[in-house]
């Protein structure tokens, strides 16, 4: 993932959307390393940001991170939990839409890599497959942007519902 970002960040935008924990220490699906790291279900935005910080630093990532709101609005719109990959064309249509979860992640990563290589080689986006779905409705997800409680940047205090202008 990080290598892909480094290889293609000049021609493609990459974002990692940090969503609710898949195996939080206090969940029914907890894993040992979540307990070791002390990662529990996020009770607030700062806890979600703190967990994202840990991933970002521990894995030495440089890919840009976004943090889903506490209503899990974007996760809900993409049905992304526990993890999922999408590739969005310039026209807004999906070129890759993984099946959710770890079973879909690796195959989709391969699909994305193939698409990116073709895009680099030909200088244009690969065509959608013939069996692609119709574009359908253009949905706008309503999110609530929250300021990090430990941030001192006043510019970060904005709302997605028009208050920020």
């Amino acid at each position: 993932m990080e290598k892909m970002y480094q290889d293609y960040k000049d021609i493609v935008d990459f974002q990692l959307v940090y969503i609710k924990e898949a195996h939080a220490a206090d969940s029914n699906w907890s894993v040992d390393y979540a307990k070791d790291l002390g990662i529990t279900e996020h009770d607030n935005h700062l806890e979600r940001c703190t967990a994202a910080d840990m991933l970002f630093k521990d894995k030495a990532l440089s890919i840009p991170f976004l943090v889903d709101d506490m209503k899990d609005a974007v996760n809900g719109a993409y049905k992304a939990f526990p993890d999922r990959i999408f590739l969005v064309r310039k026209d807004g249509r999906l070129a890759v839409a993984a099946t959710r979860g770890p079973w879909g992640f690796s195959p989709a990563l391969t699909q994305v890599a193939t698409w990116l290589a073709e895009y680099r080689k030909n200088g244009k986006e690969p065509d959608l497959p013939k069996d692609a779905k119709e574009a359908g409705e253009d949905v706008r997800v309503v999110t609530k942007l929250e300021k990090r409680a430990d941030s001192t940047d006043k510019a970060a205090t904005k709302s997605a519902d028009g208050e920020d202008g």
Binding site: D13, L16, I63, P64, D68, A77, I85, V88
Partner: protein, 89 residues
């Protein structure tokens, strides 16, 4: 003689029963009810999942440091976007 007929009928019924059960088992596996089938089902899209060709829902979210915002809509016509969704755990 009568006992011999009853015995033969019993064997025949047992054979037919085994054949029917074996066929049902194969159909079950094809429909994803077996162990391997469960894994295959996990790889399939579920109703309501976003599919290739559909418009990606647009959204606005804060960056990790909270100092900037990102709007997927603003990328229209600019660059393709790869979205990774996940968490540490």
């Amino acid at each position: 003689m009568k006992l011999k007929h009853v015995f033969s009928a019993g064997i025949l019924l047992a054979f037919l029963g085994s054949a029917i059960l074996a066929q049902q088992g194969q159909q079950g596996n094809r429909q994803g009810r077996g162990r391997g089938g469960q894994r295959q089902n996990r790889m399939e899209h579920r109703p309501g999942d976003l599919r290739i060709g559909q418009m990606a829902p647009t959204f606005e979210l804060s960056s990790l440091d909270g100092k900037s915002k990102y709007d997927l809509l603003k990328m229209r016509g600019e660059k393709p976007v790869v979205l990774f969704f996940g968490s540490y755990t």
